[in-house]
């Protein structure tokens, strides 16, 4: 399957131009948006806390100390206080940062990979389009949290199953987005050119269509990180998420709610953490969309 050298050159040039424009514009726009910068900063801090959790605290996040329960913020030895089992809130907070990153990242990657593959197939091969889109309609008809509830009910409640539930839930929307994009890209001249030059389907899909569909996938991923983290906490509130000893932020809130009146920090600290992180992923997703979506914002610069 040899390509005509000149043809290849043209195709490359076209792609390069597209890509270079994106990235140059992207970086410029991002740095002009203070919110996006704040978002990046929050995510960066979260990553630092998550990675460095072992070094940033002397306490095991699950170790109880029943003689020092519900200590308030600013206590000696526990600057963020302790929870109702005397566990150090700071170490629960930063280990929680790790958990929420892992949950968000794995569920988004799993969902996005599956969704992307389905979307590519549906968009590229007309034969598969009908069946894949009908299945995704079927899944769309279940409201998100209800779908997750059903899945967790079937699989049992654990963090792994929450991840699975959230991934499955994100598959259809990702598939749709990718499919839409593939349909547009497919019509572009250079793809038609490649086809006439005899390129194979897989090669076209993975080397040319996929890279050009990355923009919406990345935007979707960033936005969905926010949804994933938020949904995990909602499932934990309904008692279907992490086991209660795990320092998962949502589980921390639902556990702390019982003590809201004596020890409000049990609810407020993880609540603010979730809100900040979800907010960060939302603004970053928003900014990425502004940058990567070529249909609008041409004159945003």
């Amino acid at each position: 399957m040899s390509l005509d050298a000149a043809g290849q050159e043209i195709v490359k040039e076209m792609e390069n131009q597209l890509n270079r424009n994106y990235f140059l514009k992207g970086i410029k726009v991002l740095f002009k948006q203070p919110l996006a910068l704040v978002g990046f900063a929050i995510i960066l801090i979260q990553i630092i806390l998550a990675v460095g959790a072992n070094w940033l605290t002397a306490y095991d996040p699950t170790a109880q100390d029943l003689s020092h329960v519900n200590l308030p913020i600013g206590s000696e030895h526990h600057w963020l206080g302790t929870d109702n089992y005397g566990r150090d809130m700071w170490s629960r907070l930063i280990y929680g940062a790790r958990i929420s990153l892992i949950i968000g990242f794995t569920s988004v990657s799993l969902g996005t990979i599956a969704g992307t593959i389905l979307g590519l197939l549906a968009g590229y091969f007309r034969v598969l389009d009908g069946i894949i889109m009908r299945i995704s309609d079927l899944m769309f008809a279940f409201p998100g949290i209800l779908l997750a509830l059903l899945i967790v009910a079937i699989l049992g409640s654990s963090l792994v199953n929450v991840v699975i539930a959230i991934s499955i839930w994100s598959v259809p929307s990702c598939a749709r987005i990718v499919r839409g994009n593939v349909l547009t890209v497919k019509k572009q001249e250079y793809i038609t050119a490649m086809r006439s030059l005899g390129a194979g389907h897989l090669r076209i899909i993975f080397k040319h269509i996929l890279p050009n569909s990355l923009a919406p996938i990345i935007v979707f991923g960033a936005m969905h990180m926010a949804t994933a983290i938020l949904s995990t906490s909602s499932l934990s509130y309904l008692g279907l998420g992490a086991d209660p000893a795990t320092p998962e932020w949502g589980a921390m809130i639902s556990n702390g709610q019982q003590y809201m009146w004596q020890a409000p920090h049990l609810v407020i600290i993880p609540g603010i953490a979730i809100a900040l992180v979800v907010f960060a992923f939302n603004v970053v997703g928003d900014a990425l969309r502004d940058v990567l979506d070529p249909n609008m914002n041409i004159d945003q610069l």
């Binding site: 309609d137 079927l138 409201p143 949290i145 209800l146 059903l150 009910a153 938020l230 309904l238």
Partner: protein, 313 residues
């Protein structure tokens, strides 16, 4: 257009049958036995066997499914395992509350989202833009159950302005209005962000459109340009998003109903899933899915009517 509607209706029927099959099988595969839940921890083996027989759970699963499907085709959603009431009746009692909440929160999201969206579009990249984006995205970022609990604490328990929970009247009546404020704001802030975002980008696009430029060039006052020309045209995509949101909200009410003690379909679903009340879960999912699909269809039809460029055939 007409052909499209017919085709979608036919698809809807198959979609719903597919959903009943999946939910039916999923519920039966799931660990947890409705009979041992009804029996409770005190039940003996004989108790449980007798309950299973009464519920018909001792029959082969395919027979149970066909039996269910047969009932469904005759418009019978079955009887709840738990309460012995008809599933349709149980849902019918709760549906108004959920719709009430969903509509009220859509209104809240419009009241918050559209002004914020307009402000950020008109004052693009100013501090007002940053402020309104932060507020709308902040709303979507806070967990509902957390926000709800804090609202109850402030406005119901301490200030005593509003009732703690419950919903017993439509939101336009005085009682219903008081009851709905907190839940509607809790739920509405989430979708407000989406509405704001959509309004902003639609406005931006319209402002740049030719006819607006023409209007400006013709010397139409700036205010009139914005309110008459831009806003009206920008509302088309916004209405779509609101419509789609509404479908999603019916499922999203689950958490809010739980926190504010609202007797809605979402809460019924949680209870029924955890009680393994199979007919109830199937009926509820079927209803929510139907509403969702129908709203989608309506949105598409409205869209096609408004925008002649779209061709579904």
């Amino acid at each position: 257009m007409f052909a499209m509607i017919i085709r979608r209706m036919v698809q809807l029927v198959f979609l719903l049958i597919g959903i009943t099959f999946i939910v039916f099988m999923a519920m039966h595969i799931a660990p947890g036995d409705p009979a041992s839940i009804i029996g409770g921890p005190t039940a003996t083996k004989t108790d449980i066997i007798q309950i299973r027989e009464r519920l018909g759970l001792d029959r082969p699963i395919i027979i149970q499914y066909l039996d269910y499907l047969n009932g469904l085709l005759h418009g019978d959603l079955g009887i709840s395992f738990q309460t012995n009431r008809s599933v349709a009746e149980e849902i019918w009692i709760r549906l108004p509350n959920t719709v009430n909440l969903a509509v009220a929160s859509v209104i809240v999201s419009i009241l918050i989202g559209i002004p914020l969206g307009i402000i950020s579009a008109l004052k693009r990249n100013s501090w007002l833009d940053v402020f309104s984006t932060t507020v709308s995205l902040g709303g979507i970022s806070v967990p509902h159950f957390w926000l709800g609990a804090i609202f109850i604490l402030i406005f119901a328990v301490h200030l005593k302005w509003l009732p703690v929970g419950g919903l017993h009247a439509p939101f336009w009546t005085p009682q219903g209005f008081k009851e709905i404020i907190l839940p509607a704001i809790t739920l509405g802030t989430g979708s407000a962000a989406m509405t704001a975002r959509m309004t902003r980008s639609a406005m931006l696009e319209i402002i740049r459109a030719d006819f607006v430029r023409t209007a400006r060039a013709k010397g139409v006052k700036e205010r009139a340009v914005i309110w008459v020309h831009c806003l009206r045209n920008a509302m088309i995509p916004v209405v779509t998003v609101i419509g789609l949101n509404f479908g999603g909200l019916l499922g999203g009410t689950i958490i809010t109903e739980q926190v504010f003690a609202i007797n809605g379909v979402g809460r019924l679903m949680i209870e029924s899933i955890s009680a393994r009340d199979f007919p109830m879960v199937q009926g509820g999912v079927l209803l929510i899915a139907t509403i969702f699909v129908v709203i989608n269809l309506l949105v598409d039809i409205v869209y096609a009517l408004i925008d002649p460029r779209i061709n579904y055939d």
